[in-house]
């Protein structure tokens, strides 16, 4: 009886988790974090200072993406955020450096400039009916050009320390210094000693960037879910005509969305300046794409009306986590590009399956996970096999071309091998082809099982997965075995999905 209650509870929690728009992003973050932690042996990925470094570097793009979320929720788009961010950063740094006005005045001017640009965009879109895509595409070009023009595209000297308050300033550094010079007494001294002792382990990266980032998102989430502005933006995004007929001033609230978005870009500029070496007009290039990606990864619909602020937060963190983790893991540059794209696909894929609310879709998704895991495991011997076969083929065809008298630049001959190289390739091919074929058969079997979605077949495939894992360990490729064990779990879990769906529906109706 209690086992059943526990199981029901687990199902309820699982269902309520997947009802959240941001579950895809969070799941991707968790999977990726564990994967990176496993790869980066000895280098602490899950270290608090590293996690805070990720948040610190998410701050600027995060605030920009936060503003973008409002516009996308209202079924609009703002392609100019990167250019606006660059312009505000350049102009603010420029007047703070050369006009002799206090830094806080310059910052205020920058934020106002952002608001004015947003008001201009919003007026053109909401009151003149111009398409948002076109207005902000034009803005992308106009503001980037204006930024270069107004500052001569030159870098400023190092900015005044007021800017550090938006970035690298550490609220605990003062206490630490006072402690080190022995100025503290009593409770403060104990606290100072605590900060100093845990400086490298925790407090070192506890900086303003991160604090502003988190506070900004909490405020924005409160505004969007509790205030009229937020409710109206959702209403406009899901049905503009209906909202107007319901008496909402749709034009005014659309205008507000663009003003807030550009001000978000302006605040993002300040956060960026707080960590950057100087101000320059080429900051923020391609940020519009990263911001839109973060919003979409966070589960917000590009057609408006559906999404959350917290989802965007997760989306931004996921993007920066990829950068940070792949750098720490020292993955090769071109692989980083491929992996980044794949992770984004996975996050959005989870979101789409989640929305479908159908047991079969979830089963297929789980099945695809098992197939991909099997494929990755197969790649361990297969990649060696394929690259050897290709190298051998390239060697042979280069020989043929050389004999035919083709002329090539020296480095293009690097594909030619010497005798021992050719021999080496032959041994690799002989060693790997049988295992490769066997694992490919496993992948084919998994595909068949996912198409059929049959209970017995799934369990049988689960067993085959485990057997293949044992075979891999026997063949000295133990590193890939955990992939197959995970795959076995996914395979044997397939038949449980429809049951969980049924049970969740029963529980739902029982609770009214």
């Amino acid at each position: 009886m209690t086992a059943l209650r526990l199981q029901d509870k687990a199902i309820t929690h699982l269902v309520s988790f997947f009802r959240k728009e941001w579950s895809g992003a969070l799941l991707a973050i968790l999977i990726l974090s564990v994967a990176i932690e496993m790869v980066t042996s000895g280098k602490p990925f899950f270290h608090p200072t590293n996690l805070m470094t990720i948040l610190n570097n998410s701050a600027a793009i995060g605030v920009v993406a936060g503003g973008m979320t409002l516009v996308i929720l209202a079924a609009g788009i703002d392609l100019s955020v990167g250019a606006v961010m660059g312009m505000v950063a350049a102009v603010t740094g420029y007047i703070a450096s050369y006009w002799g006005i206090p830094a806080w005045m310059a910052i205020l001017c920058g934020l106002v400039l952002g608001g004015l640009i947003g008001a201009l965009h919003g007026t053109l879109i909401a009151y003149l009916g111009m398409p948002a895509f076109i207005v902000t595409l034009a803005g992308l070009s106009v503001w980037r050009g204006s930024a270069h023009l107004s500052t001569g595209a030159q870098a400023t000297p190092k900015l005044p320390s007021t800017f550090d308050l938006f970035g690298r300033y550490n609220p605990f550094s003062g206490i630490r210094e006072q402690f080190q010079s022995g100025e503290l007494t009593g409770v403060m001294e104990t606290f100072g000693a605590f900060v100093d002792a845990n400086w490298m382990g925790f407090f070192r990266t506890f900086q303003m960037s991160m604090i502003i980032f988190v506070v900004f998102f909490i405020l924005l989430a409160v505004v969007v879910s509790n205030m009229r502005l937020g409710r109206y933006i959702y209403a406009i995004g899901s049905n503009e005509q209906g909202s107007r007929q319901a008496g909402i001033n749709t034009r005014l609230y659309t205008l507000y969305a663009y003003v807030l978005c550009s001000m978000g870009a302006a605040l993002g500029a300040m956060l960026f300046l707080g960590r950057a070496p100087y101000a320059k007009s080429d900051y923020g290039q391609m940020w519009e794409l990263n911001a839109i990606a973060a919003v979409v990864i966070g589960g917000t619909s590009l057609f408006g009306g559906r999404g959350t602020i917290i989802g965007t937060f997760m989306g931004v963190v996921l993007i920066k986590l990829i950068n940070n983790g792949l750098t720490l893991a020292q993955l090769e540059t071109f692989w980083q590009m491929v992996v980044t794209g794949l992770i984004i696909l996975v996050a959005v894929g989870i979101d789409i399956v989640r929305q479908s609310k159908s047991a079969i879709k979830v089963q297929q998704m789980l099945g695809v996970v098992a197939i991909v895991l099997a494929l990755f495991a197969a790649l361990t011997p297969l990649s060696a096999l394929i690259s050897s076969v290709i190298s051998l083929h390239e060697h042979n065809s280069m020989m043929a071309m050389q004999n035919a008298g083709a002329k090539m630049v020296s480095y293009q001959y690097s594909r030619l091998l010497d005798e021992s190289g050719v021999l080496n390739l032959h041994t690799i091919i002989a060693d790997t082809w049988m295992l490769s074929l066997a694992l490919l058969a496993l992948v084919a079997g998994a595909v068949f099982a996912v198409i059929k979605l049959n209970k017995t077949l799934s369990y049988a495939m689960g067993v085959v997965f485990v057997l293949s894992a044992l075979a891999l360990i026997a063949a000295d490729m133990a590193a890939a075995a955990p992939l197959l064990i995970l795959g076995a779990c996914a395979m044997t879990g397939l038949p449980a999905v429809p049951y969980m769906f049924d049970r969740a529906r029963e529980l739902d109706s029982a609770n009214g």
């Binding site: 280098k43 602490p44 990925f45 270290h47 200072t49 590293n50 470094t53 990720i54 610190n56 570097n57 270069h148 595209a153 030159q154 870098a155 970035g167 690298r168 550490n170 550094s173 490298m200 070192r204 990266t205 900086q207 960026f272 960590r275 950057a276 070496p277 100087y278 320059k280 007009s281 080429d282 900051y283 290039q285 920066k320 950068n323 940070n324 750098t327 720490l328 020292q330 540059t333 071109f334 980083q336 630049v409």
Partner: protein, 310 residues
Amino acid sequence: MMKMNKLIGVIAAGALLSSSVYADSIGYITKSATNSGWMMINQGAADAAAEAGVDLITVGPTFQGDLSSQLEVFENLLAQGVNAIAIAPVDSSGIAPAVQDAMDSGVAVVAIDTGVTGAKVTSFVATDNYAVAKVQGAYAATLVNDGDAIIYVTGNQAQSTGQERRNGFTEAFKTARPNSEILEVPTEWNSAQAQEGVEAILNARDDVKMVANAWDGGTMGSKAAMENLGLSAGDVLLVGFDGATDAVEAMEAGWVHADTAQMLYQMGYQGIKTAVAASQGKEVSARIDTGFFLVTPSTAQAYKDLVGIK
């Protein structure tokens, strides 16, 4: 009638345009108008054209690394009938067919900074990036002990400039310090990427002694990363490439310990000089090496005097 007027207007404008380039004119296709290094090259190009008394038609891409817009600009310049084209290719092999066409039709093409793979050019005016990076790597090796971990901030690895600098540095450094680990921070010539990556690694590992950079935008990004982590000048040594003004200033403040400077101004100046000479039918050298300068704290003043940094 309206249409007719418009047509005449267009023809008149076209005639004006073509007559304006009737004087000796050189097309100059730059890689960037906003990167501080490129601004020095562009200045050299402008000065050389003024000295030679030719029109310099300067065009830059909308953003760094955009091949399609560079190809378009190249064809437009050819159609306008310029006497020679000086170009800094964003893609060494992508630009080759267009260069081949120009050379076949008798227009001299001078490649600046980055070479062309797969087509012959009249002259290639550049620093030998690979050779200079080897000097950078060999000198950097003298600043650390064997076994110390270092970071190398790369440039775009899809471009020959980025590849040559990375390969040159790594080979020379590894030869001198075989037991040192080189951690890489990949970038596409973007100083924010450099700052973020260096910050992540410096925070995770306290055994890193030096950050070497493929260009000085990266050097400034690395310096910001150090400041963000509360490190002071000299805690981790910085090594740059380019000899940009801000990096030389950072050297005087104790942050940067070596910088292999390309003679950027010379690159632009010599490039346009060569293009003018070739367009007048004079014999020009097929490869002009504009040299480099190893800037260290002791030679910084000499370098500043040489290139005119005040």
